[in-house]
Chain length 291, copies 2
């Protein structure tokens, strides 16, 4: 893909008893998500607990998915970590297995860094990789990264790397920020990081979403993306949107990632889905019962 | 060391032109810091830009320092990263070269995590390493980690691992928080993360410091630590403290790490010390001139 368009799932990562990624269950989950209608899978993101895995663990999971038969052009792994040299390593590895689009956090340890510094970090990564196939989706999620990506910085990155910096995942949850980017950056893919915002963002010219609730409601999201501007299906689109919002609200009563994993454990009948990597923890028995 | 006591330098990391760590210059700097009177070197911390280096780069730098003849018991490398499995890998590597005391950040990507989650992360690391030689200095630096370590959490960690969790570096800059820990946790090493607080913390029963300005004023800090309770030398101690405060203030006019590197470039006559890893950047020419 050049500019990512569609519904991408921020896939959850199932864990073995020793808290290592469960490759087989993840592969099954990827197939399920594509069968449900996802355009692709944004594996190894915030929802996938990626920053709780080492570089080796991340590369091994991507290898397992590609070896398992998922087409590399359906995958958008997260590769942005605190050290730009490791971001380079993870991104080169993705390219080596045929994956060309990655979702890239800015370096997130140092805070209150300048736009010049964040620009320099992305520049180092893109220039050191030096691969014209690479497509980077920037990742704005200040509630976790604490390194927000402002519009002037994004404009500089697009101007410097127009064929590489092709999109952004905006997980800050504010539709106005997304629509402002749609207006300012024609052709740039603005992807909502929150499921309920897919519909309003598509209506405003956005490209789609990379979201967490998609682990459970991908079929509804895919239906919305395919039919949002079809007046004859407005009632069905609105009904799908209502189900998306209801599922997201249900998953947000308690810690969101743990809740989505618990709901996936129920869907699949596999209790291994309940496991979480510290510092995130599974829901308590009382929370599980209430969910 | 069992409980770290003394003046530890949060060593700066010199870089080659390709922004890789300059092993030879770093080794020279470590020897300088020990010659100036530092008890030890807290390499690969925030001041050392450690989280901008990959695990491989971190391990290679530690290998170079130990191979270069710095005694492992004078080293306290930072090993805490976002992924606990990588924290385990880095810490095991340190132990493998004879280093037993490490400074360990909590996992710092996810925010607003529970004390139970942070406790679980430290527990996984300590239990998976399973080495009775290990000594962990906790690291409270909420302005960067955004994961503060409260006293109840610290109490739980000390109770669970009394021979392992032996100290804390408090870089939040509040002396009251440090003295409260001195009072609550007898025998636990409370180390100031800000140079001007070494003297008041020692007077309140603290163990010492792990600080950045020590890259320039280690001799004064060592003098303070050796003589803070010697009334006959009160004037000299106060004069040393005044120099520490003045140097720190000078380094804080602009970005602190870049300023300390610029001042080290001046001291050594080696311009390579000016280099920084993105997202941090060197001082501008105007800032350099003013400094």
């Amino acid at each position: 893909m050049t500019h990512p368009v569609g519904v991408f799932s921020a896939a959850l990562t199932p864990l073995n008893a020793d808290l290592s990624p469960d490759h087989a269950s993840f592969l099954t989950h990827c197939r399920y998500l594509l069968d449900e209608g996802c355009t692709g899978i944004a594996m190894l993101g915030t929802t996938g607990e990626a920053n709780s895995f080492s570089a080796k663990e991340r590369m091994a999971l991507l290898d397992a998915v590609v070896s398992g038969g998922i087409a590399p052009d359906r995958l958008l792994p997260g590769t942005g970590v605190a050290a730009f040299t490791e971001t380079v390593e993870l991104t080169k590895h993705a390219l080596s297995v045929g994956v060309t689009t990655v979702v890239m956090l800015p370096p997130f340890y140092y805070k209150d860094v300048s736009d010049d510094g964040v620009f320099a970090a992305y520049s180092e990564v893109i220039q050191r990789i030096g691969d014209s196939r690479l497509r980077v989706v920037l990742y704005h999620i200040p509630q976790f990264s604490a390194v927000p990506l402002g519009h002037d910085l994004i404009a500089r990155l697009i101007a410097a790397y127009p064929n590489t910096v092709t999109g952004i995942k905006d997980s800050a949850g504010k539709i106005d920020n997304m629509t402002a980017m749609v207006g300012r950056f024609p052709g740039f893919s603005v992807l909502a990081g929150a499921d309920p915002l897919l519909l309003p963002l598509l209506r405003a010219g956005g490209a789609g979403c990379i979201t967490a609730t998609s682990n459970l409601v991908a079929r509804d999201l895919a239906f919305i993306a395919a039919n949002f501007n079809n007046d004859a299906l407005a009632a069905e689109v609105n009904a799908a949107q209502d189900r998306v919002v209801a599922t997201r609200n249900r998953a947000s009563q308690f810690a969101q990632i743990a809740s989505l994993k618990a709901m996936t454990a129920t869907r699949t009948g596999q209790s291994g889905w309940l496991r979480m990597r510290p510092p995130l923890l599974p829901l308590s028995p009382a929370e599980l019962a209430q969910l």
